[in-house]
């Protein structure tokens, strides 16, 4: 679909467009609403950073997102609320979901510091970003007496203000999908045969066509029944209704503790204390070198959706590396983004396409186990926390003085098909792409399968044909908290900030079921 008008960045929260990487200082406040009216008043009085470009560049940014409970508390009607997605409404801690995501054993919500059950859920999250040295002031300015009337602080999630490498020592957030803001991408599905890094706007924001050309179900409101909705944009697919979701999206936050010294000590022992071998094994598990350089060779022709200046880090796919000789299939980056197209490589015309459609292309059948990556992309906006430690020092560390980890944040219009799919079908699955019982080497919870088969191993192909297997991997990453949030658009924030109509007229749109 082509849309001639330029995208209006003023209605999205800035975090969708920018990672605020220049604003190195950041913290996140998990808040509960004490007084809904005061909270609305505070929302009305507060300016949130939009996605519009500014000159000069901003020296601070403020973003906000709500859990389902928070939306209900702030005054969203039940029949609007129920139009949000099931996973958002049910929450990350739901037992079936925990099993699905690998949040079991030590990762189980019962052990979380926050978000582990309904009572431990924040109502909202405030994300503060500032230039170094400015964060404290920003935080103090924020906490007015109105703020204190409105909210209680459940948790304060600090971040590391200096580095962008995650605690194991690797560059983080190296690969991101490119958003098709102008909706220029062709609707011709044959153009998606091979991997593209360009994703439909509707994968990242609600209210726009997604990779299937559909509008993801989201809350639509009648402005006749709910006067607060008058300022909301129209729903493109149902113009009689206002779109509370448009320009907003879901935000997934997971607090992941990373045992840096445990990681490097294990790797070091496996490598026989040889620094080069140690580095090589860690790189194989990640799929990149510490500075972000991929293990896969860079391709000559630019992959669609890769910017030329990102060539050295991301211009590759795994098409020519079926066995994982260059980059192990089990490696973290390969399983987080397998870079596959809708068909295995080599579609040249109608006949070869039909042979593949019918499944008769024997040579590429194994490669076809994981296809169509484009439906499972997420935009990552995480921040590292804890002090930075060099791998060499992590090896010697006895008792870490401070916890380290990642506040994993991602944005996606469909939590289930995007975040949960990547986490469950790719990262946490011991059978990803035909692997022999290997979970993600970094993130796996090492829980054996139902029948007792162990999954705590990592293997690399070897020229002899005999896979080199690293066994008995300990758990390196532990989930400490998490929740699903709705990141509203700027206009949706105005809707949330408005006083609810008290006439008793209930909103009776049933659009969620018919989108």
């Amino acid at each position: 679909m082509t849309n001639q008008t330029a995208f209006d960045f003023t209605d999205i929260q800035g975090i969708v467009r920018f990672g605020h990487g220049r604003l190195k200082s950041a913290c996140m406040l998990l808040l509960n609403i004490k007084d809904p009216a005061a909270a609305r008043q505070w929302l009305r009085a507060t300016a949130f950073t939009s996605g519009a470009s500014t000159d000069p560049l901003p020296d601070a940014a403020l973003q906000i997102a709500f859990t389902a409970r928070g939306l209900a508390r702030i005054g969203v009607d039940k029949d609007v609320l129920t139009q949000f997605s099931d996973e958002f409404l049910a929450g990350m801690y739901e037992p079936s979901r925990s099993r699905h995501l690998g949040d079991t054993n030590t990762n189980a919500p019962d052990n979380w510091r926050w978000g582990g059950h309904e009572g431990a859920l924040p109502d909202l999250i405030l994300m503060l970003y500032a230039l170094p040295g400015r964060l404290e002031t920003l935080h103090q300015e924020l906490e007015t007496s109105l703020f204190k009337d409105a909210f209680t602080e459940q948790a304060h999630l600090g971040t590391n203000h200096v580095v962008t490498t995650e605690p194991f020592g690797f560059a983080d957030g190296v690969s991101q999908p490119k958003i098709d803001w102008q909706r220029d991408q062709t609707a011709d599905l044959h153009r998606r045969d091979s991997y593209s890094n360009l994703v439909a706007l509707g994968e990242i924001l609600l209210g726009y066509p997604n990779e299937y050309g559909e509008y993801t179900a989201r809350p639509l409101v009648s402005s006749e029944l709910d006067t607060r909705a008058a300022a909301l944009p129209e729903a493109e697919d149902q113009p009689t209704l206002k779109d509370l979701g448009r320009n907003g999206t879901y935000l997934v936050l997971r607090q992941l503790e990373q045992d840096a010294s445990g990681f490097w000590k294990f790797i070091d022992a496996q490598a026989g204390h040889d620094p080069l071998k140690r580095e090589a094994l860690a790189e194989a598990m990640v799929g990149r070198k510490r500075d972000g350089t991929p293990l896969m060779p860079i391709e000559k022709n630019l992959v669609e959706g890769i910017d030329p200046d990102d060539r050295e880090k991301n211009n590759f796919s795994y098409d020519e590396d079926k066995q994982g000789a260059a980059c192990p299939i089990a490696s973290h980056i390969r399983r987080s983004n397998p870079r596959t197209g809708d068909f295995t490589p080599g579609v040249t015309g109608f006949i070869s396409r039909m042979i593949r459609v019918l499944g008769f292309h024997n040579a590429s059948r194994e490669q076809d186990l994981v296809a169509s990556t484009r439906f499972h992309r997420i935009l990552r906006r995480g921040r590292v926390y804890g002090d930075f430690i060099k791998p060499e020092d992590a090896l010697l560390e006895q008792n870490p003085a401070q916890e380290r980890g990642l506040h994993f944040i991602c944005l996606a219009a469909n939590i289930r098909r995007q975040f949960e799919f990547v986490q469950s079908a790719w990262a946490a699955s011991g059978k990803f792409a035909g692997l022999q019982d290997e979970e993600d080497p970094l993130m796996g919870n090492r829980k054996p399968l139902y029948g007792g088969t162990r999954t705590d191993q990592f293997s690399q192909p070897h020229e002899s044909g005999i896979r080199k297997c690293t066994a008995d991997l300990p758990q390196f990453v532990t989930v400490r908290g998490g929740a699903y949030f709705f990141l509203p658009s700027i206009s949706a924030l105005r809707y949330l900030a408005a006083e609810p109509v008290t006439s008793g007229v209930t909103n009776t749109t049933t659009s969620a079921g018919t989108v």
Binding site: H100, S372, F375, A425
Partner: protein, 435 residues
């Protein structure tokens, strides 16, 4: 080669016994629908030819949907369906069940109509209520439960050997490694550590019948082709008219029901799926789905019997069963991965195949030309299927941790082992990399 068969015992539940039946079924589980292989009612694990089995109380959750076609919904009484996939003839495994699980099955079936006071034996009673699926898919025709277990054990042994070689290499020469592994396996077989039974002979009658079907069906289709060609324009005209007019039902599944379904999922690497719905009223849809399922069954039997159903490689067994005089279809499958991954795999790889069958169901997202549209509307399709999905009350899998991909790989591993001498070293390396 021993062909697989399925039994599908369908019995209407005595309304007063529904609660009791549910409690009985729950007693067979370790947790959330996952059968205890040694449970006292039906000890599935004792039936060594049983791949998968399930008990489902089939209820018509969407019974009123047919109102959109102006039809009066026909009442549907809850029906207990006991289905299993087994090696060899159905009657043999039913007879074994009738012996080994006699008290348990009697208890269960006494909650169903027509059991109390019957003069039939348990076996006869079950046989009388067996419904042959209209179409069945078997991931790997001829692979028995015994073979699966033997090859899993073989793979474990070979894997251990390769791990050992990582510490103390045997040789750099792949041919030497191959011979070494052959010797190790031979020794393990000799001292009873490992069993590798030869693949049994295919029953003669089955082979003849299979061959005749393979020849006759295409032959008849070719002979009738001119007739089909003449009829095609009329058929397509009516099809398109109906496709444009057929109402979609796009209600969101009840979140509580969806949560109950989710509670039964993701315990193993494999999941179960049971769904039930009405065929659109009228002769056109009725004969379309009869024809489609006939062709699907033929294709599954003769073309897709070695590890893949078109592009999908994650299904172990699947069945399409007509009930209520072909007015309704019950669908059962056993697939690897999560529900979401299963849906996505289907939508992205074989939406056309789903449409062929399921677009004849009431309320399905609008299809075009029987293959386009429909499942391509991802959101609508997922809601449609989830609404029709049933709780699988009891579910058994004989090899919990093994995926279909892995079982197919084990066949290749065994084949490589049993290859006396490879011609190229690279072939040996490729083989080693499978282990």
């Amino acid at each position: 080669m021993i062909p697989q068969s399925a039994f599908t015992i369908c019995a209407v539940v005595e309304p007063t016994h529904l609660g009791e039946l549910r409690a009985l079924l729950a007693r067979m589980n370790i947790l959330h629908g996952m059968a205890d292989p040694d449970n006292s009612l039906v000890p599935f694990g004792q039936i060594h030819t049983l791949h998968f089995a399930r008990f489902v109380i089939v209820e018509s959750l969407t019974n009123d949907d047919i109102l959109v076609h102006g039809e009066v919904p026909k009442p549907w009484a809850p029906m207990l369906v006991f289905m299993g996939d087994c090696d060899g003839p159905r009657d043999v495994v039913l007879a074994e069940l009738a012996v080994r699980a006699k008290p348990g099955l009697e208890k269960i079936f006494s909650c169903c109509q027509g059991f109390a006071g019957t003069s039939d034996t348990l076996l006869e009673w079950m046989q009388a209520r067996n419904v042959v699926p209209a179409a069945s898919y078997v991931n790997w025709l001829g692979r028995t439960v015994a073979q699966v277990h033997e090859e899993l054990a073989l793979h474990r042994l070979l894997r251990q050997q390769l791990v050992k070689m990582q510490q103390s290499p045997v040789s750099d020469d792949p041919a030497v490694i191959h011979r070494h592994l052959q010797t190790v396996v031979k020794e393990a077989v000799a001292n009873g550590q490992l069993t590798l039974s030869p693949i049994p002979k295919t029953p003669f009658g089955w082979r003849i019948k299979n061959l005749l079907e393979f020849i006759l069906v295409p032959l008849v289709l070719i002979l009738l082709a001119p007739l089909f060609l003449v009829l095609a324009p009329f058929y397509l005209f009516v099809l398109r008219r109906k496709e444009k007019a057929d109402p979609e039902i796009l209600l969101r599944p009840d979140p509580q029901w969806a949560a109950q379904l989710a509670a039964l999922e993701d315990h193993m690497v494999t999941n179960q799926f049971s769904a039930f719905g009405d065929v659109k009223p009228g002769a056109f849809r009725r004969y379309t789905i009869i024809a489609v399922l006939f062709l699907l069954n033929f294709a599954a039997r003769h073309l897709f019997n070695k590890g893949y159903l078109t592009r999908v490689q994650t299904i172990h067994f699947a069945h399409w069963i007509f009930l209520d005089d072909k007015r309704r279809v019950l669908f059962f499958s056993n697939y690897d991965g999560s529900h979401e991954a299963y849906m996505d795999d289907f939508i992205n790889k074989v939406a056309w195949g789903l449409n062929l069958v399921f677009s004849n169901g009431v309320g399905y997202p609008a299809s075009r030309w029987l293959v386009k549209g429909g499942a391509e509307y991802e959101g609508k399709f997922k809601r449609h299927l989830r609404r029709h999905q049933l709780c699988t009350d009891v579910w058994y899998k004989a090899y919990p941790d093994a995926t279909a991909t892995e079982l197919a790989r084990n066949i290749k591993i065994r084949k490589g082992l049993e290859t006396p001498v490879f011609r190229e070293d690279s072939e040996i390396r490729d083989w080693l990399s499978l282990i």
